[in-house]
Every structure is written in C-alpha cells, then in structure tokens.
C-alpha cells in the first residue's frame, strides 16, 4: 500500500519540485536582468541575433503559407454564404489573435529554444559553467540572462512579422488568386478589427516569449550533464513549450473575452 502510494505520488512530487525550482530560477533570472541589460548589452544583442534574426526566414515562409491556407479555407467556406469579402476578416482575426502568437512560439521553440537548451546543456556537461564560477564570473549574468532576454525580445517581434506576412499571404491567395475585391478585403478587415484585438495578440506574444525563453534556458540549465541528458533536455524544451503555450493561450483568451 505504501509502495503504491509512493509510486503514484513520487512523479507528482517530482513535478512539483521541478516546477518550484523553475520558478526560483525565473526569479533569479529576473534579478540579474537589469544588470545584464545595462552592463552587458552587447551579449543581449548577440542573442537577439541568434534567436531572432536567424529565425526570420523560417518565420516568414511559414507565415506566408499559413496566411495563404487561412485565405483558402475562409474563402471556400464563406463562398457558400456569398460572403467571400469577409475572407479578410476571418484570416486577420485568426492570425492576429491566435495563430500568429501560437505558431510563432512553437516555431521559436523548435528553431531557437532547442539550440539554447542544447547549448546551455552542453556548457554544463563540459563544466564550462563551473569553470566560469571558478573564475568568479557569474554564469547567470554572462550566459543565462542574455539568452533569456534575447528570446523575450525576439518573440514579440517575430510574431509581428509572422502576422504581417500571414496577412500578405491571405491577401495573395484571396485577392490575386481567387478574385476577392481588394477594397472589400481590406476595408471589411479594418472595420471589423479594433486596436484591442491587436493588443491581445501582442500581450500573448510577450507572455509566450517569456515562457518559451524561460523553458529553453531552464531545461538546458537543469539538464543531466551527459550526452543523453542534453538530448533529453532538447526534446523536453519543445514538448514543455508546446504544452505551456497552448494552455496559456486558452487561459489568456478566456480572461480577455
């Protein structure tokens, strides 16, 4: 009986312990954020380049095709009600409020989060982090916080680019390919959307940026310092980010409606 209890409870306890450690780690990150931002801004810029600027191509290609497919689907279904002009509204709402922030966060986790986690994990496995501490250099300030901040800055910008390119994709498919009137497409879209809708997308992208970056840095930092452990940390980054982003997306939407 006690064994059964232990077997049920120990994974749960392990999860709670892990979560608690992550929250403490997050507090540490936040504590060193101002110092790093002011004194080591160059490192942050370098990480914005790694996490953001190098992701721009994948973000734009995916955005174009996601927008295009939204345009196609919206058109195909709205055609039945003779409301093809509303294609723009549907595609824009979907992109700005949901698909833009969520897919960008998932792509970020796959493209940059895994790189962060494996880089930090490998640093730990090869004792580079310990070596830094030996030299009285705080790895938190030099390694972890710049990477975290790079992600936090990059994700909202990537989301904006994704959404803009997605709208362009929807425009290309609906207007150029399927013959929806340009004026109707954009005018209906502009009338239906409020600035609040755009703000909702921006809020989501900021939250997702923090979560995706935190999880990537944390998984790398807490990885078991072996080759296998680093590989597992990389996988866990993607899985944990996907789950966290999708749950948070629901919670934010529910709280804003």
């Amino acid at each position: 009986m006690t064994r059964l209890l232990r077997e049920v409870f120990s994974p749960a306890l392990e999860f709670v312990r892990n979560f608690g450690a992550m929250v403490l780690f997050f507090v540490q990150l936040l504590r060193y954020t101002p110092w790093t931002f002011v004194r080591r801004f160059g490192l942050v810029v370098g990480q914005v380049y790694n996490a953001g600027a190098l992701s721009i191509v994948i973000i734009m290609v995916c955005g174009l095709f996601v927008g295009g497919v939204l345009g196609l689907q919206a058109f195909a279904n709205l055609e039945r009600f003779n409301a093809e002009e509303a294609t723009g509204i549907l595609a824009a709402f979907a992109l700005v409020k949901e698909i833009g922030p969520v897919i960008t966060a998932l792509l970020f986790a796959g493209r940059a989060g895994t790189a962060l986690a494996s880089e930090i994990g490998l640093m730990k496995a090869t004792d580079q982090l310990s070596a830094m501490e030996m030299m009285a250099v705080n790895p938190m300030q030099r390694v972890l916080v710049p990477r975290f901040l790079g992600g936090v800055i990059s994700v909202p910008l990537l989301t904006a680019v994704f959404t803009m390119v997605g709208l362009l994709g929807a425009h290309l498919v609906a207007v150029e390919l399927l013959g929806v009137d340009v004026g109707a497409f954009w005018q209906q879209l502009q009338q239906a959307m409020d600035v609040e809708d755009v703000y909702e997308g921006i809020i989501k992208s900021i939250v997702f940026g923090v979560v995706a970056s935190l999880l990537a840095v944390w998984e790398g930092y807490s990885a078991v310092p072996t080759a296998e452990g680093v590989g597992r940390a990389t996988t866990r980054t993607v899985v944990a980010t996907a789950i966290a982003v999708l749950i948070l997306d629901f919670m934010i939407t529910a709280s804003l409606i």
């Binding site: 370098g46 914005v48 380049y49 910008l157 959307m193 755009v198």
Partner: protein, 154 residues
C-alpha cells in the same frame, strides 16, 4: 570585428522589421483611420431602440463619415437610449432639425447613424440635441409584423 558588424547589422534589420510589422498591424489593420477627428463637437440624440449600435460606429451624412458614436447609455427616467456623437468641426452647418436614424450597412453589416439634413436656419452646435430620431429596425420585429399581417389577410 567583421563578424561583429554582420551581427549588429542583422540584429538591427531584424528589430526594425519587427517594429515595422507592429506598426503595420496597429495602424493598417484597424478601423481607426477613416475618421481621425481631432477638432469635433458633441451632439446627443435619443432613440427608442438602438438595436446593436456600438460605440465607435460611424456617423454618416449622404453616405460620408463625418463623425463617430462615443457613448451609448440608457436614461432611466425617460426610458430611452441616449447616444452621444462627435462630429467633425468642419461640418458645423448641419441644420438643427436634421433627422438621425440608425441604419444597417448592407443586409448583415454593422449599424451606423445616418443624418438626413433638415431645413432649419439654425445649426447643430456643441451640446445640442437631435430631436428627430428613428430607431433601429429590428429584423425580428419586422418578420413578426409581416407574419401577423399575412395571417390577418386570410
């Protein structure tokens, strides 16, 4: 050094592109730009039924947007809806016996306020009230009336 330069240029381009995209999203996809209206005057109108009129709905005259609905509230004493509109100061010569009606853009479009010019020599000004109003047409009521009427014909 050379590589550093590439990183900085790449980051700069990326951040500028991102901020440009944010700017595009907030200004080009939202419906604020057709009536900026900085210099305006405020007018009130009472309606029996505002239907699904919303704040920020356009106020149009001859089909051209000249203002915006800023507030809709219910007057508990006269049991009417009080709609506050702002109209662009450029159009300060609207007769004070003009008629305001709540119209629908297209069959399923959103509702807006249409002004029909009257013949008075006095003009609407800050704080005045439009006396002649026509409520929103509620489609369900119309169908109800139609059914009752077609029933009584037999």
């Amino acid at each position: 050094m050379r590589q550093n330069l590439a990183v900085e240029i790449g980051t700069g381009l990326f951040v500028l592109l991102g901020i440009g995209a944010l700017f595009f999203l907030t200004t080009q996809t939202t419906g604020r730009n057709d009536f900026a209206g900085t210099d305006t005057y405020t007018v009130q109108a009472r309606f029996e039924n505002v239907g699904s009129l919303k704040t920020r709905a356009p106020v149009a005259m001859s089909g051209v947007t000249i203002g915006r609905v800023t507030n809709i509230e219910f007057d508990g004493e006269s049991l009417e809806a009080v709609v506050t509109l702002v109209i662009d100061r450029r159009f300060s010569q609207i007769p004070d016996d003009s008629d305001a009606s709540i119209l629908t853009a297209g069959l399923l479009g959103s509702q807006y306020i249409g002004l029909q010019a009257g013949g008075s020599e006095l003009y609407l000004e800050e704080g005045s009230e439009i006396l002649f109003t026509q409520s929103a047409i509620v489609l369900e009521n119309l169908i109800g009336k139609f059914l009752v009427k077609s029933g009584s014909d037999e």
